[in-house]
Symmetry: C2
Subunit: 348 residues, 2 copies
Amino acid sequence: MNNGQPVNRSWHLASRPQGDLQPENFELRESAMPQPGKNQFRIRTLYLSLDPTHRLWTREKASYMPSVKLGEVMRGFTMGVVESSNHPGFPTGAIVTGVLGWEAYSISDGSGFVNRVEMDPRLPLTARFGLFEHIGLTAYFGILDLLHPKVGETMLVSGAAGAVGSVAVQIGKIMGCRVVGIAGSDDKCQWVKNELGADAVVNYKQKSWRAALATACPTGVDTFFDNVGGECLEAVLDLINMKARIAMCGAISQYGKDDQMVGPPNIYNLLNKRAKLEGFIVLDYAADKRWWAKAHDDMTQWYLQGRMKYKLDIVDGLENAAQAVTKLFNGTNTGKLLVKVAEEPARH
Amino acid sequence: MNNGQPVNRSWHLASRPQGDLQPENFELRESAMPQPGKNQFRIRTLYLSLDPTHRLWTREKASYMPSVKLGEVMRGFTMGVVESSNHPGFPTGAIVTGVLGWEAYSISDGSGFVNRVEMDPRLPLTARFGLFEHIGLTAYFGILDLLHPKVGETMLVSGAAGAVGSVAVQIGKIMGCRVVGIAGSDDKCQWVKNELGADAVVNYKQKSWRAALATACPTGVDTFFDNVGGECLEAVLDLINMKARIAMCGAISQYGKDDQMVGPPNIYNLLNKRAKLEGFIVLDYAADKRWWAKAHDDMTQWYLQGRMKYKLDIVDGLENAAQAVTKLFNGTNTGKLLVKVAEEPARH
C-alpha cells in the first residue's frame, strides 16, 4: 500500500465487544493520505484520548451519540495540528481538538466539536486533556451545574482516581466540601487522599467497603459525582441525605454488560430523601460560550494557584491504542490515559 | 370495656405485612374516650383516607417518615371536626385535616400537619381529599415544581386512574401537554381517556403494553409523573427524550417487595438523555405558605371552571378500613379511597 507515498493509519472497529473492550475489537489499517477538500483541513494527530465512553460508542445501540459502525474508523477525542488547510478559521499550524478518529491524520470542516486550542502558554498542551475538554470540564459542569455543592457538605466521588474523578475531587475541595473518594486499589486511594486532598477514600474492592463508606460519611452524603454506576450507585443511595443531588457522569461498571445492566434496587430512596439523580454530557455545555469560557478561566486559575493537579498516563504510538484502551477497564490506569501519536510542534 | 361509657375505636398495627397489606395486619381495639389536655383538642374523625403510602409506613425500616411501630395506632390522613378543645386555634366545630390515626377520635395539639380546613363553600368537604391535601396537591407540586411541562410536550402519568394520577392527568392537560396515561384495566383506561381527557391510555396488564406505550408516544416522553416504579419506570426510561424530567411520586409496584425491590436496569438512559429523576413528598411544600395557598386557589378555580374532576370511592364504617385498604393493591379501586367514619356536621 505504501509504495513511498505518505499514508494514513487508522484503527477501525472490527467487531462489537462482548464485555469490556479488547484489542481484537479493533483493526489497524493503512490508507492513502487524505487530502482536504473545499473548506476542509487536514489535522496531524498529536494525542488520542482513550476514554471509558468508547465502550458506549461501540455498542450496537446508540448511546448519547450514534454508535460507531463496524468497519468505521473508531471515534475518539484528539488533539492535533493543522498541516494543510482550505479553511480560513483553521490555518496551517493551528492546534485543534475535536471528536475525530483513532488515526494519524483526520480531515475536518470544523464540525464535530473541532475547536482551536487557545490556552494559557504557561500550561503544557497536554493539560488540555487533564484540565479541560471532556475531562476537567466534565467535572466542572457536573459539579457546578448539577450538584450545587455547599460549604461543609459531604461530596462523594466514584472513580476518584480516574481522569474526571480526580478533577472532581479537587473541585469539591475548592468548593469547601468534605470530599470522600471511592477508588479501586490502595495505591489509587493513597493518591486521591495524599495528592488530591480528599478527606477520606474507600477502596471498593475490599470486602467491607460499604461499611467503610458509611463510616467515611458520618453525616451522610449530600452530593455524589458518579462515574461508576451499579453497586457503587446502590451503596451511595443508602447513604444520601435529604435533598441530595447525584450527577450521573458515567457508569463504567455497566458499560460491558449491554443487556445485562443492573439498576439499583434502592432507587426508590430518591423518594424517601426527596433527592435527584441527573445525567449530563459535557459536550452540551459547549453551546454556552460564556460559561464554557468561565470554566476555562476557573480551571486555569486553580491550576496556576497550585490548587489543581492532574496526572497523565501516556502510551507511545498509535499502534498501541487498542492494547492501551483495556487499561481503562482492568483497573491499571490512574489519571488521564493518552496515546501520543506524533511529536508536539514548537509552540509560539 | 364499654359499660355505657363513650369509647374510642382504633386500628392498631398487629403485624408487619409480607407482600401487600392484608386485613390481618391490623387489629381493631376499643379504648376509653380520650380527653384533651392543656393546649389540646379532640377531633371526631369524619373521613379516613386510605393511601398506597400506608404500605411504606408499615415497613420495619423508616421511609420518608418513621415506621408505625407494632401495636401502635395505624397512622393515616384524616378529616374531622373538633368537638372538645383547650386550644384557641382549634375551637369546637372547626373542621381539620391532619396526619393522625385510623381511629374514631384523635387528640392533637396542632402538630402533625393538623390544619383547619378553609375551603370555598361551593366545594363539598370530601373535595378536600380529591383535590387538595396529599392527593391533588401532590399532583400539583410534582408537576409544577419538578416536571416544568411545556405546551405541546408529551407527559406520561402512571397510576392514571388513581387518586393522585387522575389529578395529574388533568393538570397535564391544563398545562397544554399531550397526556398519555398508564392504568391497570380497560375500564380505568376508558375513564382516564373519556372523563379525564387523556390523549391516549395504555393498559399495562396487556401483554404488549410496552409496544403500545411506544406507539402512544410517537414523539417520545418529555415528562413522567410516576406513581408505580418498577417495570413501568423501566418502560418509560426507554422512551424518554433529551432533557426529560421524571417525578418519582410513588412506587406502588415495589411497596410490597421490601428487600426484593427491583431497580430499572436502563436507569443509565438518564445519562444518554441528560435526563432527571427526582423524588418528592407533598408535605414538604406545606412550609411554603404562599405557594401552598396558590395551589389551593388554582385547584379551586380549575374545579369551579369544570376543568378538574375527581372521583371518590367511599367505604362506610371505620370497622371496614382494614378490608378496604386492600383495594389499593389489588387493582379494584378507582379514584380516591376514603372510609366514612362519622356523618358530616352541617357547614356554616
